[in-house]
Amino acid sequence: MKIQVKNLTRQFGAKTAVDNISFEFSSGHIFGFIGPNGAGKTTTIKIMATLDNPTKGDVLFDGVSTVLYPEKIRRIIGYMPDELPSFADTQVWEYLDFYARAFGLKGDHRRRTLQEIQEFTGLGPIRDKFLNTLSKGMKQRVSLARALVHNPQVLVLDEPAAGLDPHARLELRELLKILAGQGKAILLSSHILSELQDVCDGAVIIEKGKILASGVIGELLVDAKHHKAPKPQEEMQQQEDEPILMATPIITLKIKTRDKQDQLVRKLLENPLVKHVEANAYSEVKLEFAGLDDQIPMLIKQLLDDGFPIVAFEKLDLGLQDIFLKITKGEIQ
């Protein structure tokens, strides 16, 4: 299944929450939807899940419009919001059973499906608990189970890892990989980038309602390594046929010093190849070096010769978090 977000715009009065965004993803892949709080992620996801209507544009699921056929879309999409109702009078199995019935699952098929989903999401031991007594992690599991109850082809998950402990995050990651392996198309929104890096095949980076970058993770990493400026969507389309100019790669280095941290920062900034320097509270200095790998030892030697008591240095690999930081000024965790 191919999911196409086409020129989507959502305005709330004078405020534009989502501004003419377009991207697409397909079955068997996990696609990250990255942006700081208030970037327009949840608004986009709500439109995809038929919970809201766009001011302009549409989301097509194999060509079927969410605006024109929301009922059809509800049957093929499983939406997991970032929260779960806290009803004091509903048990976990009753909640899932209601949605199974509401999607028309009957008899043994319903019972079997619920059994499988409870096993898959690890809800068996808590099936008789009331919703208001569940921990955040358990609620997320119930929410995922609810989204899976009608075996949707597309899963849209809004901040699924928020509030989960590290162990639960690992489990969720594994569950998502299994689901993608089953051929489901998964869109995963998060502002915790480390969560997405290991699990996503591609990503869309959004800020203030506009897409700043999109593509498979590898391409995004290469783009960020070469420190390309963020490309607005229209420009990306216009420049498709233009030759790509190779920029000098940016290397991120971390240097630990025993003291003289401030002097070290000043010294580094004097070097024309050093683009950005950042000091932290652990006597460390992080810098962006626009030189070649061979030039790194020379830089370190120069610093030692200048009398800086350097105790360690490290070349850092770029992650999704770095990509995000390079192309946005977003607030990330």
């Binding site: 919970l51 509800r74 779960l84 004091a88 509903t90």
Partner: protein, 462 residues
């Protein structure tokens, strides 16, 4: 058993399970049973004082106490709790089950209604043994018990329908209005109902019963279709069932009038006191008011569903969601009755019945209501970011309620000349003048006609 549960409405099953997990159910049941036992005890003590000889009203007294306790229990469990639960379920759009599953609004409302009715039946079964005791204590017949109980149930079901309607809006403010208004109104309505049925049951004719039942059915079905409209997905043709229902009612009323004219006999509608013009204007006023609560555009989905040929598409426009089509339909229904009535009455002051006859009041009031709806539609064009219902409220408050309040103040201060002047543009005129109402409506109709024409053109050219 498995097959039975599959054929039941999922919302009914869900609500029923929630009822039995809720702490409220055992509390209310305890109050219901405890209250009834206490009533029996008091009756027994009264009988002891009277050497175990029940007087003529002992059974009636016990019956009224049981009925009162039943009404309170039913009000809490079948109206307030489902309303509060529905509001809670719809409060967060991200968790709103009505938007997250493939159930239709009709299925959801039916499930909500049937779960409340099931609890009503459950409560009735808890009251039955005590009713039997009331019957054996004399003072009330089986027919009286059945009739009063049936009529109280009818009011109860109406209350449940309203409660679910309020619940489906998801608005807590409306829930508070329902809560407080029902506290004061329900006992009054039930008291009147009990008084009519317990004292004058023999005097009510069969036709009157049918008329009351028809009016009741109209209100129930109207609330039901309105509820479906509220639950409908945005940009669907969610107002279609409501418009169709009101058009069918208008058609049936006209048919009934034609039949009674040819057969020279009144059937359901007493035409001598309530003319067909009044009924059609009333229906038009309802359509116009609902239109004022709607957005201007029909939406892409409705345009996509509309027939492609011009005439069917034009007719479809009239029953499609959107304020422009609503106000157009209201005028189409009301225009002939208004002209006919105006031709009969304007200039013939002596022909008007003295005082406020229902016909004058309804026609005059309906024209004003259509006019207020028009002003609301125009106003909402200038404040597109606000919900249309706000524009309607502003129109009603500014054009009707504020003048009525000022008129009341002037009346108190013996300035009735001023109050007459202030009320001239409201349905509360001292002597209704249809020509003033028509001029008032025409003032709003002219700019509104531009909106209707623009929307109709957009709809038809697609």
């Amino acid at each position: 058993m498995k097959i039975t549960s599959d054929s039941l409405n999922p919302v009914l099953i869900k609500d029923y399970r929630q009822h039995f997990h809720s702490k409220l159910l055992p509390i209310v049941m305890t109050i219901l049973l405890g209250g009834q036992l206490l009533a029996i005890l008091i009756t027994q003590l009264a009988l002891d004082d009277n050497n175990n000889r029940p007087n003529d009203d002992t059974g009636l007294f016990l019956f009224h106490i049981i009925l009162g306790i039943f009404c309170i229990a039913a009000w809490i469990l079948c109206a307030l709790q489902p309303m509060q639960r529905f509001i809670q379920e719809r409060a967060n759009p991200e968790l709103d089950f009505t938007r997250m599953c493939s159930m239709t609004p009709r299925q959801i409302i039916s499930g909500k209604l049937s779960s409340s009715l099931l609890i009503v039946l459950y409560l009735v079964s808890l009251c039955l043994p005590f009713m039997v005791i009331a019957y054996f204590l004399k003072g009330i017949s089986i027919l009286d018990i059945a009739t009063v109980f049936a009529s109280v149930l009818a009011i109860g079901i109406l209350m449940i329908q309203i409660a679910i309607l309020v619940g489906s809006t998801g608005k807590k403010s409306l829930a508070f209005i329902f809560f407080f208004s029902s506290i004061y109104l329900t006992p009054i309505v039930i008291s009147i109902d009990v008084a009519i049925f317990s004292k004058g049951i023999g005097k009510i004719g069969f036709l009157d019963v049918i008329r009351v039942a028809s009016a009741y059915l109209f209100v129930m079905v109207f609330l039901y279709v309105l509820n479906i409209a509220i639950l409908g997905t945005k940009y669907t043709n969610n107002i279609l069932p409501t418009r169709c229902f009101l058009i069918v009612c208008a058609a049936l009323a006209t048919l009934e009038k034609a039949l009674s004219y040819f057969l020279k006999k009144d059937f359901l509608i007493p035409h001598s006191t309530l003319s067909i013009e009044a009924i059609l204007c009333f229906i038009a006023a309802i359509i116009a008011t609902i239109a004022a609560w709607e957005r201007h555009d029909s939406g892409p989905r409705v345009l996509n569903e509309a027939p492609k040929k011009l005439i069917p598409r034009s007719l479809f426009f009239l029953i499609s969601s959107g304020s422009a089509s609503g106000i157009a339909l209201a005028w189409i229904i009301a225009i002939i009755p208004i002209i006919r009535y105006a031709c009969e009455t304007i200039g013939k002051v002596n022909a008007l019945p003295s005082g406020l006859s229902p016909v004058i009041f309804i026609i005059n009031g309906s024209i004003f209501i259509i006019a207020y709806a028009q002003f609301a539609i125009i106003l909402s064009k200038f404040i597109p970011s606000k919900p249309p219902v706000l524009s309607w409220l502003i129109s009603i408050v500014v054009l009707a309620i504020v003048p009525a309040v000022f008129a009341g103040i002037f009346d108190i201060t013996d300035r009735s000349d001023l109050s007459k002047f202030i009320l001239a543009l409201t349905p509360f005129q001292e002597s209704p003048e249809i020509i003033i109402a028509l001029i008032f409506a025409a003032v709003g109709a002219i700019p509104c006609a531009f909106i209707v024409a623009q929307k109709a053109r957009d709809f038809l050219k697609q």
